[in-house]
């Protein structure tokens, strides 16, 4: 009984063997596949053309700095939209939770709002608001496509964020509400001190996914003017007659979105594990 700390146990020995074997197998099969790809793909008849069109290194070098610069605009639009979205989304979530009949119009508004903005393609909202509203004769600077493009994104994403907040609020078990009410606390205090703090914490991973989607949808603003990375890549594409700038743009997006998505997945998985 006391020798269990000396030397590897039988299972450890077995697992070490297994692990060595599977690492070797994985290494072999991976190298075979990678080698096949690296050797065979350049032999295909269209490869030169694909390379020219999608992976032209010269064009990467030439366009990268300007594309990166244009991406800063995406980041900026994202950065100033997020707090607005969070605030509006929470307000609408709470509006939909109001029980007092006097405020029924508020609830109705909340319902209509989320239905409409979740139902229409973002690009349509961007066109309608980003082009339509300035077209009503607003004077500069109030007709800026940055302004109205942002409004379009904020209105759309606030609808999604509101629904997630609401689902968070509803996911808090009734017993928490009961516990607070049974102590004599008022419904608004219960919401503020007991339900909301838990609900908000619980929906962080879902909201992160929405933010990642937003970061990508910022590209749609390019259709109403702002020269952000997607538009800049389009300009290069027409000047250079190559799709490489789009590939570069995609790569720049991935650098931001992959870690963010991974983080969101990780948090969500942790939460799911904790719940079950």
């Amino acid at each position: 009984m006391s020798d269990s700390n000396k030397g590897p146990t039988r299972r450890q020995a077995h697992e070490r063997k297994l692990k060595r074997r599977s690492m070797i197998l994985a290494a072999i099969s991976t190298s075979v596949v990678v080698a096949a790809l690296v050797i065979l793909i350049p032999l295909t008849p269209g490869w030169e053309r694909v390379k020219q069109s999608f992976f032209n290194w010269d064009i990467v070098v030439r366009t990268f700095p300007k594309l990166l610069n244009a991406f800063l605009l995406d980041v900026a639009i994202f950065a100033w939209s997020v707090p607005l979205i969070a605030a509006l989304g929470l307000a609408i979530a709470l509006a939909r939770d109001v029980r007092d009949p006097v405020f029924y119009p508020l609830r109705l508004f909340g319902i209509l709002y989320t239905d409409i903005f979740r139902g229409v393609p973002v690009v349509l909202v961007v066109y309608l608001i980003g082009f339509g509203i300035p077209g009503l004769g607003l004077q500069r600077p109030f007709n800026s496509p940055y302004l109205w493009g942002t409004v379009a994104l904020v209105l759309t994403y606030a609808a999604y964020v509101a629904e997630i907040f609401r689902s968070g609020i509803e996911s808090i078990h009734a017993s928490q509400r009961n516990a607070a009410l049974s102590l004599g606390m008022s419904p608004s205090d219960t919401m503020r001190f007991v339900i909301l703090p838990q609900a908000i914490r619980r929906v962080v991973p879902a909201q992160m996914n929405i933010l990642i989607a937003l970061q990508k949808d910022v590209a749609l603003l390019s259709f109403i003017g702002p020269v952000e990375i997607f538009r800049q890549a389009g300009v290069f594409k027409s000047l250079l007659a190559s799709f490489t700038p789009y590939v570069v743009a995609a790569a720049i997006f991935l650098v931001v979105t992959i870690p963010a998505t991974r983080l969101a997945d990780h948090m969500l998985a942790k939460q799911n594990r904790a719940r079950s």
């Binding site: 017993s175 928490q176 009961n178 516990a179 102590l183 004599g184 606390m185 007991v194 838990q198």
Partner: protein, 244 residues
């Protein structure tokens, strides 16, 4: 009588859950509700605390009717403490914050003013070194004791307990039951739904057997456990205590 339940009816949709319950609880007395799962014990306790509106019937607390649907339930709930089966501590707050939240918001007392009373309560129930822990850092028994402290901090006139030990590991049951004994010694009026027959027999002043939403039989523990008059009561006790 401290608490009087008079002919209370309650349905959920078309299911009748309480079917004309009447119950008197005297000051300082401990009343145990026993009965099969689904017989309506939890619902009765929730109705007394106004978490569920009763359909019909009256509930009197200290000579005033409290089940009138036109009344604001908030001040009445402050006078009645309740502890539930599964731990309903607020998971984002420490034990101390859990206990202080309601008094702070309702009586507008500061933390500092509350601290002595709260510390005393924690101390009394052997939780002094757990005050700054979050619920998930506490064992089930500790969580239930904090939940009791939280209810007591509102200085309720009567306490309701809904199977507060049934989600606990068997070894943790006793520490919670000890707390109930000690509250009884202080003269607290209590109503508890329980499956702990041994405890009911030894400690309760009165035992009520609920069956399908009615009180089928009530009396002293000795009456109920040794001489159940009703066939159903005998059945139930046989199944629960029965030969295993």
């Amino acid at each position: 009588m401290k608490l009087q339940v008079k002919n209370v009816h309650k349905s959920f949709g078309h299911t009748k859950v309480l079917n004309g319950i009447s119950l008197d609880v005297a000051e300082g007395e401990m009343t145990c509700l026993i009965g099969a799962s689904g017989s309506g014990k939890s619902t009765l306790l929730r109705c007394i605390n106004l978490l569920e509106p009763v359909d019909d019937g009256e509930i009197w607390l200290d000579g005033a009717e409290i089940a009138d649907p036109a009344l604001d339930p908030q001040p009445i709930r402050q006078r009645i403490g309740i502890v539930f089966q599964s731990f309903n501590l607020f998971p984002h707050m420490t034990a101390e914050e859990n206990v202080m939240l309601a008094p702070r918001r309702i009586f507008k007392t500061s933390r500092d003013a509350l601290r002595p009373t709260v510390e005393e309560l924690f101390d009394r129930f052997g939780l002094k070194d757990r005050m700054h822990h979050y619920p998930d850092q506490l064992s089930g028994g500790q969580q239930q004791r904090v939940a009791i402290v939280r209810a007591l901090a509102m200085k309720p006139e009567i306490m309701l307990f809904d199977e507060i030990t049934s989600a606990l590991d068997p070894e943790l049951v006793n520490e919670v039951l000890q707390v109930l004994k000690s509250l009884k010694q202080d003269g607290m009026t209590m109503v508890l739904a329980t499956h702990e027959m041994a405890f009911a027999r030894d400690v309760a002043d009165k035992v009520c057997f609920l069956d399908k939403g009615s009180i089928l039989e009530q009396g002293t523990p000795a009456d109920i456990f040794s001489n159940p008059r009703q066939e159903r009561t005998r059945d139930f006790l046989a199944r629960v205590l029965g030969p295993r």
